[in-house]
């Protein structure tokens, strides 16, 4: 048990570090210096410079701010909106309607990538579109999870006890049921955060980036790939950043999920 809490703690610290470390960036990530292209690491540029002479380390840290910022902000919205909606659509408030179930199943079967494509098609690429598409698609899925888990919990004996002692519907849902499904919720959010990182970087890698002047890992990988023969090291740093961050979310998710099983 203790080991899992340690893992979760380390993961959270790592995520916060990656998100906040742009504060310690040594240089301006957008400042181009064509005289200093493809520099190797030096005191001023710790990881060297890229094809426009920009500091790779600063770009890496600011990229973390962009990508993880989207995910943390999106995750918070998903958590709030999805929990509320899932509770509302659970059996205790609106009852059982096969139409509602069918509609939820239909909406959630569409993958997040499809939402992303439709939203980018409609509003153009940018951070706002990305956040909107991510939150809409994932909070619908999350809502379904909360609804299913809540329905399962509502059948258990403790809910019956609470009801017979006169607890209101909202008290049952938010004070009795919510703590019991909390781990599942966190597990889902952190696993889908890992998914989101891959989707965001994947999309900016194929050219649907977050905007023209935004520093992010996917764009860095794309640019570095064009100069892969000149300096192959450039592509390693952003890829490592992507892998480490999604690995952290994945490990955190599976550790939180493992808290329920007694081993």
């Amino acid at each position: 048990m203790n080991k899992k809490y340690t893992t979760i703690g380390i993961s959270i610290i790592l995520i916060i570090l990656m998100f906040m470390s742009f504060l310690f960036a040594p240089n301006d990530p957008k400042e181009a210096d064509l005289m200093n292209r493809f520099q190797s690491s030096s005191d001023k540029y710790l990881l060297g410079t890229d094809h426009l002479g920009r500091c790779v380390l600063s770009r890496l840290l600011y990229g973390g701010k962009t990508t993880l910022g989207i995910i943390l902000f999106g995750g918070l919205i998903i958590f709030i909106v999805g929990t509320l909606l899932g509770m509302i659509f659970s059996k205790s408030i609106i009852g059982t309607y096969s139409i509602v179930d069918g509609a939820i199943n239909a909406i959630t079967s569409i993958p997040p990538i499809a939402y992303l494509i439709v939203f980018i098609g409609a509003w153009g690429n940018g951070i706002r579109t990305m956040i909107l598409a991510m939150t809409v698609s994932y909070s619908l899925r999350y809502m379904k999870l909360v609804k299913t888990k809540t329905d399962l919990e509502l059948k258990k004996a403790y809910v019956l006890c609470a009801r017979s002692s006169g607890a209101s519907k909202f008290r049952i849902l938010f004070i009795h049921v919510l703590p019991n499904i909390f781990n599942d919720m966190i597990e889902f959010i952190s696993l889908s955060s890992a998914d989101m990182i891959l989707t965001i970087t994947g999309f900016s890698f194929i050219g649907l980036n977050l905007g023209d002047n935004v520093v992010d890992w996917g764009t860095m990988i794309l640019e570095a790939r064009n100069y892969g023969l000149v300096n192959p090291k450039l592509i390693i740093y952003p890829i490592l950043a992507v892998i480490i961050s999604s690995l952290t979310f994945n490990i955190m998710g599976s550790s939180v999920g493992g808290l329920n099983s007694n081993d």
């Binding site: 494509i117 194929i206 050219g207 649907l208 790939r225 994945n250 490990i251």
Partner: protein, 281 residues
């Protein structure tokens, strides 16, 4: 789509004429039907769908239906090959993990699986291209069509799903081997390997098959990025291109087809799931 603030008529006029006047834009708008109210536009699109006439692509000028018809089989081939690879490797790796009793190697497998779902698929495919295409010249870098050309993208597509399902399959095997019936089989004197081959693996497969079928539907969407890297002129390539070019009729139809295919796979998964439940009880 129609709520977009970018006017499709203006975008088309700019692409076709370069520097259009107000009158030219207005003419294009009327000729393409963008001047009518939204419900009318929607119903005319719906009518076209039933008549298999989805309009013309604003970029290439070809019929949208033809373009989709040309691109879809390529994607389907990749996804088909990929799901065969996935299915076989999930069973093989899962059973290997079950057979090998060494704790260290099992741990290694588990860690590899978590790493596998954390590495972006586009990086795996670029690495694949760089190593096998550029360094050893075994596969061609562009124009990956046909059966042989579809294998590299299929492999890259498979990695994520294999790493996702192997732990599930392995846990299923462990669960099945703790059931009463496997104890009974052991008492009968059957060897562990026979029990695994004849009883545990089929039951384990039944456990993962519904969600696996759904993941085939999702693979179509997941193939977008990989097709782009391998420059396969498939369905995903079509979608991304139409989004980049703001090709409204194309986006509508491709997204419709994507949703349609995923819904189809979900329905098949549901039917199979019900069959399995029926057989078991």
């Amino acid at each position: 789509m129609r709520v977009s603030k970018v006017d499709p008529a203006t975008a088309y006029a700019k692409r076709a004429i370069g520097n259009p006047t107000e009158l030219q834009i207005e003419n294009i708008r009327i000729s393409m039907g963008f001047d009518k109210p939204l419900p009318v536009q929607y119903f005319s699109w719906l009518k076209g769908l039933f008549q298999m006439d989805l309009g013309k692509s604003l970029v290439s000028g070809y019929s949208v239906w033809d373009e989709i018809w040309k691109a879809f089989p390529k994607t389907l081939l990749i996804v088909g090959i990929s799901s065969i690879i996935q299915f076989v490797s999930i069973i093989v790796i899962g059973s290997l993990m079950f057979i090998i009793k060494n704790k260290l190697i099992r741990r290694l497998f588990k860690i590899l699986c978590i790493v596998g779902i954390s590495v972006p698929s586009f990086y795996i495919s670029t690495l694949f291209l760089d190593i096998f295409g550029v360094k050893y010249n075994l596969i061609s870098v562009t124009n990956n069509i046909g059966f042989k050309g579809s294998i590299p993208p299929a492999v890259c597509l498979a990695v994520f799903i294999i790493c996702f399902y192997v732990p599930l399959f392995y846990n299923g095997l462990i669960k099945e081997s703790n059931e009463d019936y496997s104890m009974y089989l052991r008492c009968q004197g059957l060897s562990e390997f026979k029990i695994l081959r004849n009883h545990l693996i089929p039951n384990g497969i039944l456990g993962i098959i519904p969600s696996f079928l759904q993941s085939i539907g999702l693979s179509i969407a997941g193939a977008t990025v990989i097709e782009r890297v391998f420059s396969v002129p498939g369905f995903g390539y079509l979608i991304v291109n139409s989004v980049i070019e703001r090709d409204a009729p194309m986006i509508h139809s491709t997204v419709f087809f994507l949703a349609f295919f995923i819904a189809l796979m979900n329905i098949i998964a549901d039917i199979i799931n019900e069959r399995i439940e029926g057989e078991r009880s």
